[in-house]
């Protein structure tokens, strides 16, 4: 009986740890953003396997930035990219780079993603 109790306690502790990890890993963790060395050069973003690479991009305040999307994923989920807060969207043909000009923005975080929000990225202006 004691063994079962101990096992269940272990399960509970592990479950709490996993939940804590999920919260931290997916919601609280702030990955390092890719910083463009030269804003005149486009930042290349590969669209493949359910992720934008890189998914976090830093845009210097007061400067426009060109994001060059290259879609490798043939799934129709990947065919659009939307910057909902900025009113920008673009169609991404397969294997063809598409430049998206993001005008200068106020400091803050601006999410972008596919229409279904399965692909997600963040533009960080600071």
């Amino acid at each position: 009986m004691g063994g079962v109790m101990g096992f269940m306690l272990l399960v509970d502790v592990l479950a709490l740890a996993v939940i804590g990890f999920i919260v931290w890993w997916f919601w609280l963790y702030k990955p390092r953003a890719q910083v463009s060395a030269n804003v005149a050069e486009p930042v290349e973003i590969i669209v493949a396997d359910g992720v934008y690479t890189p998914a976090y991009i830093e845009q210097p305040q007061g400067q426009a930035l060109v994001l060059r999307f290259l879609r490798r994923d043939p799934s129709p989920c990947a065919e659009q990219v939307l910057f909902a807060d900025l009113g920008i969207n673009a169609e991404l043909p397969l294997n063809q780079p598409v430049d998206v000009l993001v005008p200068a923005q106020r400091p803050g975080e601006y999410g972008f993603g596919c229409q279904m929000q399965m692909y997600r990225g963040t533009l960080i202006v600071k």
Partner: protein, 748 residues
């Protein structure tokens, strides 16, 4: 124009007159940073540029060198997209088939009870082989889910792939533990779930393939628009008519169009005349007459005669290309109604992962058979469908915006569509919106010995050479009168603010208002109450006297469009209040309003105050649409909740408003509103369905019904439900394709 990366950019070049221009253009192109090579084809008036450079920069450089340029869009882009999508569709079916070939027989054998038990050596060997085969399925048919899940994880993101990979992966792993190390699992919980993993993978791949087919139908409208673009054009080069691919047509080149052919690019007629069917772009059913000097638009059909025209816009600059670009842009935008779903989608998968962990723990606590905990956890992961939520809004927008384009209504974005669905009041500009915007002679009344055609010929004679808009109406009326000869005029005199006088064929003519007649002591008693009657009918009367005797009245008016009244009736039928806003005098405005059934008139409003009037209505709590020509009404259009620019055909500036009506008819306003309302209703159905499905499916999968009814959701059933939830959303959006606006046919 899109930027290109090391892919050749094709440009059409205009303004090249000699071979020397070729080197100038090439020099300008090669000077653009990133260009590796540029070759200009003088015969085709095109340039092919290699390098890492955007088309926009190249166009700018060519224009800077004193020439014209436009990007030639690749005609095969849509075909390539379709080919890629079809390839992906087939690969999904292949994956589904392979998974079904492994999972299906296992599932059936399990139902029939003919599978070997796990507690014998031969049985365990059999199950080990099944485990290896299922691993093959997970790698071949489900590999993309696992790759996506792994990459998402390391990008601190989680998506549908995460749920599928964790659900099927945990089923396989658990089953392998049962086979290889059964001691680790209580006897009661020793079950293998290979068939569940394989069948789930088969169902989800199959569901994705179905969804893809259904999604293809949502973009039929854009495909139809793209299909309007002919593949070839007949160009006159070196005096010969030659058929060339459409992308090689250069600016300023001369093209021949024969009856029944589609016009290749935008241009101006230089020889011949015809009528052109523009219905595919404007929704206007009647053909439009074209003669030298008239503009023609690529994609429209030449109905009758043969003519020559000069190309003025090619490639991505044509009206058709711009319409396609705008519709595409609008189709991929998202209105506010979809934001809640987006916010939920953003946290959905990690939340489901947490629910799965809690499900596992609770079951382990409450039930001795650990396999129940595994089944419930796996089912929670499989049944949850973030895709249905994510698809709910964009699929409907895609179909709704496309449907509007079929009616000649271009909606700028999803937000405009959402706002259009909420409108309560429509404000119409008068001139050019309710009326045709072109004054015409509407009434000719003879009051003496002269016939009506004679009166018109006298009036036309004295107005010849005048630039007054009313004079243009008189001259146009005289030209339309068959056999009418306009005599020469002598002694012409303009009497400022009153009218004109002249001698025509030996008769002294006075043509002007009543004050002119009084001044010249002409007896006007014969008029009676006619002037007031005409004014009340929104007509401007002009009196004509011949040899000092009143001869007749010629009335001029800007007539209401033939379908304005019917369109306003349709507005009323859908519960809209209709207001007319005009700078005209109250009497004229009232007369026009009475003709078409307008509810409220705001007359004598200066252009700069029109926006204030819109604001006034908004302060009264109305959600206001402003309908105008998009040029003079720009501030009012901007102030309104939804600005409608009404065009007179394909010459409309499609960038000027939230909604552009390609057909110059107010019916477009009602069409736009009905389509918007139907689209919003469709979005709400989709959102409700997706929320309801997940809100119900996840608790049932977790086993909430088990204590009450002893029911557990089968994970394979969960897989089928998950696959079908997305298909259902897309199919519901596709229902919008069948939507027809109401009231239009009855009114036409």
């Amino acid at each position: 124009m899109q930027g290109k990366d090391q892919q050749p950019v094709r440009l059409s070049i205009g303004g090249m007159s000699c071979a020397g221009c070729v080197s100038s253009v090439e020099k300008a192109l090669r000077a653009v940073p990133g260009v590796i090579g540029a070759n200009v084809n003088f015969a085709e008036h095109t340039a092919l540029v290699q390098g890492r450079v955007s088309a926009a920069e190249l166009v700018k450089a060519v224009i800077g060198a004193g020439y014209e340029a436009a990007e030639l869009s690749g005609e095969n882009a849509e075909q390539e997209k379709e080919a890629a999508e079809f390839g992906y569709y087939r690969s999904l079916l292949r994956r589904a088939l392979v998974a079904a070939l492994v999972g299906g027989p296992l599932f059936l054998a399990g139902l029939l009870g003919v599978l070997p038990p796990l507690d014998t050596l031969s049985g365990r060997l059999f199950w080990l082989l099944v485990g290896v085969a299922t691993l093959g399925v997970l790698i071949y048919s489900g590999g993309h889910f696992f790759t996506g899940a792994r990459k998402s994880f390391f990008a601190h993101s989680a998506n549908m792939d995460t749920l599928i990979a964790m659900g099927t992966g945990s089923a396989w792993l658990y089953s392998m533990v049962v086979i290889i190390k059964p001691d680790l699992v209580p006897t009661l919980a020793q079950h293998a779930y290979f068939e569940a993993a394989a069948v789930i993978i088969a169902l989800i791949n199959f569901g994705s393939a179905l969804e893809m087919r259904a999604r293809g139908r949502t973009s039929e409208a854009i495909k139809r628009l793209i299909g309007l673009q002919p593949k070839t054009a007949r160009v006159i080069r070196n005096g010969q008519e030659v058929d060339v691919p459409i992308e090689s047509v250069g600016l300023d080149e001369t093209l021949r169009v024969r009856p029944g052919e589609r016009i290749a690019v935008d241009g101006v007629v230089i020889e011949g005349h015809s009528s052109v069917d523009e219905s595919m772009l404007t929704g206007e059913p009647l053909s439009v007459a074209k003669q030298a000097g008239d503009e023609v638009v690529g994609g429209t059909i030449n109905v009758s005669g043969s003519f020559l025209f000069q190309a003025r816009r090619v490639g991505s600059q044509t009206v058709l290309a711009q319409i396609v670009a705008m519709v595409r842009q609008a189709q991929s935008s998202k209105p506010a109604i979809g934001r809640l779903a987006d916010r939920i989608s953003a946290v959905f998968v990690p939340t489901v992962l947490i629910i799965a962990v809690l499900t596992l723990v609770v079951w382990l606590h409450l039930w001795p058979d650990a396999s129940y905990a595994l089944v419930a956890t796996m089912t929670v992961l499989i049944v949850a469908c973030p895709c249905a939520l994510g698809l709910a809004t964009p699929m409907s927008i895609m179909v709704g915006v496309g449907k509007a384009a079929e009616y000649g209504v271009l909606i700028r974005n999803g937000e405009a569509l959402q706002q259009s669905g909420r409108l309560t009041t429509v404000v119409l500009d008068k001139t050019g919106t309710v009326t045709a915007g072109k004054p015409v002679v509407t009434t000719v009344i003879s009051l003496g010995d002269w016939s009506e055609p004679q009166l018109l010929s006298f009036a036309a004679a004295v107005e010849t050479g005048s630039e007054h808009p009313l004079a243009a109406a008189v001259l146009a009326a005289s030209q339309q009168q068959e056999g009418l000869v306009v005599p020469s005029v002598q002694g012409f005199e303009a009497i400022s603010g009153h009218g004109v006088s002249a001698s025509v064929d030996g008769h002294s003519i006075l043509f002007g208002n009543q004050r002119l007649m009084s001044q010249q002591q002409i007896d006007c008693t014969a008029i009676g109450g006619r002037l007031d009657e005409l004014a009340a009918q929104a007509q401007t009367p002009i009196l004509l006297a011949v040899d000092q005797r009143l001869a007749g009245i010629i009335a001029i008016a800007d007539p209401v469009k033939s379908d304005s009244e019917a369109a306003i009736r349709r507005m009323h039928a859908i519960g809209l209040k209709v207001v007319m806003l005009t700078g005209d005098h109250q009497t004229t405005a009232n007369a026009v309003a009475a003709q078409v059934g307008i509810d409220e008139v705001m007359a004598e409003v200066l252009p700069q105050h029109k926006a204030d009037k819109v604001a006034e209505l908004q302060q009264r709590g109305e959600v206001v649409a402003m309908v105008g020509d998009g040029i003079n009404d720009a501030p009012a259009l901007a102030r309104s909740d939804v600005g409608f620019a009404i065009g007179g055909g394909t010459d409309v500036a499609i960038e000027s408003a939230d909604v552009t009506l390609m057909r110059g008819s107010l019916h477009g306003v009602v069409d736009a509103l009905q389509i918007s309302r139907a689209t919003l209703a469709n979005i709400r159905q989709n959102l409700f369905g997706a929320f309801f499905y997940n809100a119900l499916g996840i608790p049932v999968a977790a086993g909430i019904l088990f204590p009450l009814l002893g029911l557990m959701l089968n994970p394979m059933l969960a897989g089928a439900a998950m696959a079908m939830s997305s298909v259902t959303v897309v199919s519901n959006a596709n229902r919008l394709r069948l939507f027809k606006v109401s009231g239009l046919e009855q009114e036409q």
